[in-house]
């Protein structure tokens, strides 16, 4: 447990943490501090002792497969669930036990949850009406809010007359009208098609930087998380595996799970040598530059390398002088070539039933055919070593997550 708690600590927040209790009242508007929060449903643990500090004005994503606890975490922030233990502070105020309608946060729901019996304008006005805002001010602010999402001309329609993307914008305008300190978004783009989703990603990010509101965004789509977030919290089985910005998560994954979950990864098995940067494998010696703290000489390990880090060169026709130099070299035979648009992907058999995936930008890609003898090379800096057990477990979890995409949380059965 202490390991994951440490993982959740963002760089430089140790001081914030120490001061958290003393400085509660002086916490700036829009900050979210989750401290040791656990949520159990009956005997099942949905969220397992997580701690998370969200900075004011930050775009933070909670990323993970279905059942990892990301939606439960969001619902505890909104007030729809109460934590079994732990504390939650929003803008410095302790919100445990505060009902949803008294929290200065708003939510964009997965299936939008627009009220079908009200027009678009009435939906957007709902939050202001609950506060008893005067009608003239309501008109003005609803107009403004609809302008913000470019939906002013749809004000008097019913939500059912709008497309998914338009409903999405209305849900956003409705949630933003009360000017919350924190906006919670529960897979808001999940129901949109790919192109619209990409457009909305850009718009959401622009809106967030313009308004300066803290966004907490729940998603199972790593593309969404990587493209919009200032920081990403990768969740697994109710815990936070890693909390960092997109670059760090991609380049220096804290665990085999994060390494495999974000992007693609080749995992190669082997055994650690006395040099903790070097792993002996059936395919040759593999070198890294970052030793894993849990690894020691003689234990089983797995080396992870991304397909885009692997260069493939034909063995035939290259002399020793022209052969690429790199710390890691494995010889193999091309099993398949697939065109991915801007890249070519090679599947290389390296013996022992093991394959290696390589992705090369098209202009620099070698012309290779199935059956060609090749040598795969990559730098030691792109290799991460993980204990074998952790890597196997991570790969099994990821495979399960891929085969069970997140079900819509709105489905309710009798």
């Amino acid at each position: 447990m202490t390991v994951s708690a440490q993982n959740t600590m963002p760089a430089g927040s140790a001081a914030d943490h120490a001061n958290a209790d003393a400085a509660n009242t002086s916490e700036p508007e829009g900050s979210v501090v989750i401290e040791g929060v656990t949520k159990k449903f009956g005997g099942a643990v949905a969220v397992d002792n997580i701690s998370l500090h969200v900075r004011p004005g930050e775009f933070l994503s909670l990323l993970g497969p279905s059942g990892c606890g990301k939606t439960t975490t969001l619902r505890m922030l909104a007030g729809f669930e109460e934590p079994t233990s732990g504390s939650i502070h929003i803008s410095g105020q302790d919100v445990v036990g505060v009902p949803p309608h008294k929290r200065n946060v708003n939510t964009v729901f997965q299936a939008y949850a627009l009220f079908p019996h009200m027009s678009v304008a009435e939906n957007v006005a709902y939050g202001l009406r609950q506060k008893g805002t005067p009608k003239s001010e309501i008109r003005e602010r609803v107009s403004e809010s609809l302008d913000l999402v470019q939906m002013r001309s749809f004000a008097d329609r019913k939500p059912t007359q709008l497309s998914g993307g338009q409903q999405q914008r209305i849900a956003l305008a409705r949630a933003l009208i009360n000017r919350p300190a924190v906006l919670l978004l529960d897979e808001p783009l999940g129901a949109l098609d790919r192109q619209l989703r990409e457009e909305m990603q850009i718009e959401l990010k622009l809106l967030q930087s313009r308004l300066g509101i803290t966004f907490i965004f729940v998603t199972h789509d790593q593309g969404e998380a990587l493209s919009m977030s200032d920081r990403i919290a990768i969740m697994r089985k109710g815990r936070i595996e890693q909390l960092d910005d997109a670059d760090s998560i991609y380049d220096s994954p804290a665990s085999a799970y994060v390494a495999g979950f974000i992007g693609q990864q080749n995992f190669l098995p082997g055994m650690m040598t006395s040099d903790l940067n070097v792993m002996e494998s059936p395919f040759g010696v593999l070198r890294s530059v970052i030793p894993h703290p849990e690894l020691e000489a003689g234990v089983d390990a797995q080396a992870a390398v991304r397909p885009e880090a692997v260069t493939v060169t034909a063995t035939a026709g290259t002399s020793a002088a022209t052969a690429p130099t790199a710390e890691n070299r494995i010889a193999g035979e091309v099993l398949g070539v697939s065109h991915q648009g801007e890249t070519l992907q090679f599947l290389v058999s390296i013996g022992d039933g093991q394959t290696l995936l390589s992705r090369v930008p098209r202009p620099t890609a070698p012309r290779l055919a199935v059956g060609d003898a090749v040598v795969c090379t990559w730098d030691a800096t792109s290799v991460h070593l993980f204990p074998s057990e952790q890597a196997t477990q991570a790969q099994a979890d990821i495979a399960r997550a891929v085969s069970n995409p997140a079900p819509p949380t709105s489905s309710i059965s009798l």
């Binding site: 729809f80 946060v105 708003n106 009435e122 409705r174 709105s410 009798l414």
Partner: protein, 316 residues
Amino acid sequence: MTTLTERQSASSPKAPRRRPRWMKLPSFALAIPAWAWLFAFFVAPVALVVWFSFGYKPGIFGTHANDVLSFDRYAEALSPTFFATFQNTLWVGVVGTLICLAISIPFAYWLAFKAPVSRRGILLAMVMIPFWTNFLVRTIGWQIILAPSGVLSEALQSIGALDEPLEILFTRTAVLIGVVYNYLPLMILPMFVAFDRVALPMREASKDLGAGRWSTLFNVTLPLAKPGIVVGILLVYIPLMGDYITATVLGGAKGNMAGQMVANQFQTAQNWALGSAMAVVLVLTILTTVAIAALISWLAAWPLRANQKLVLGDKS
């Protein structure tokens, strides 16, 4: 191999097979069975009843005659003796429906939103189980409970709540208890379905936007469940107004209802003309009260609608 190719060529002709033009029917043909049923078992009998109501009873052995038409049977149906029964019926119908409403709304709400999901099946079954027993048998069961020497009376006397036997059997109160008991499930079921269909995210969105429990109930939950609530009310009020079994078994002479009166005219008195006039008065009473109730509820929701209404119009 040959058989396979032959079969394939036989079953997949080059062009999709078209139905000959004469076999095509206009789309309203789909509704013909329903229209036929509605006409034969609703329109025609009602028209016949209305027609009979303008006639008279020709003699001891005749049931109806229509050679002289008049409104006399209506005057007769509304004469003081019969009018009291209509008043009584209206009282039982309205009060019974209101009691059902007062029980059904909280219960259906609780069942849809608060009861544990795993128990819902059992709870719904408990609502339905009385229906497995015959209507008449269930009503006679209440006779045993409500009788002066019955279970309820004895229990109340033994705890000292009453000094003498309970005298409510064969009164309007007994009829009221009976109809509430008999019709309650008909209201609970559609209301449960209606509340259940108000998706949880809608209610959560309302709370998220700053609405408390009551505000969420009146602004979101009830408006969205309205169709089911209306169905529940109509499903209870209309058959309740025409009910005569409950009134016969539990009401006696004091708890008379219009349904009984109509049945008496047709079966015992053999006066089809008067019975028809009474039936028409009953139908008109039901239609009028439903219209009045609709108007009242529309007016009652006026402030809420006015508060909610927001039309921005075109951008200028």
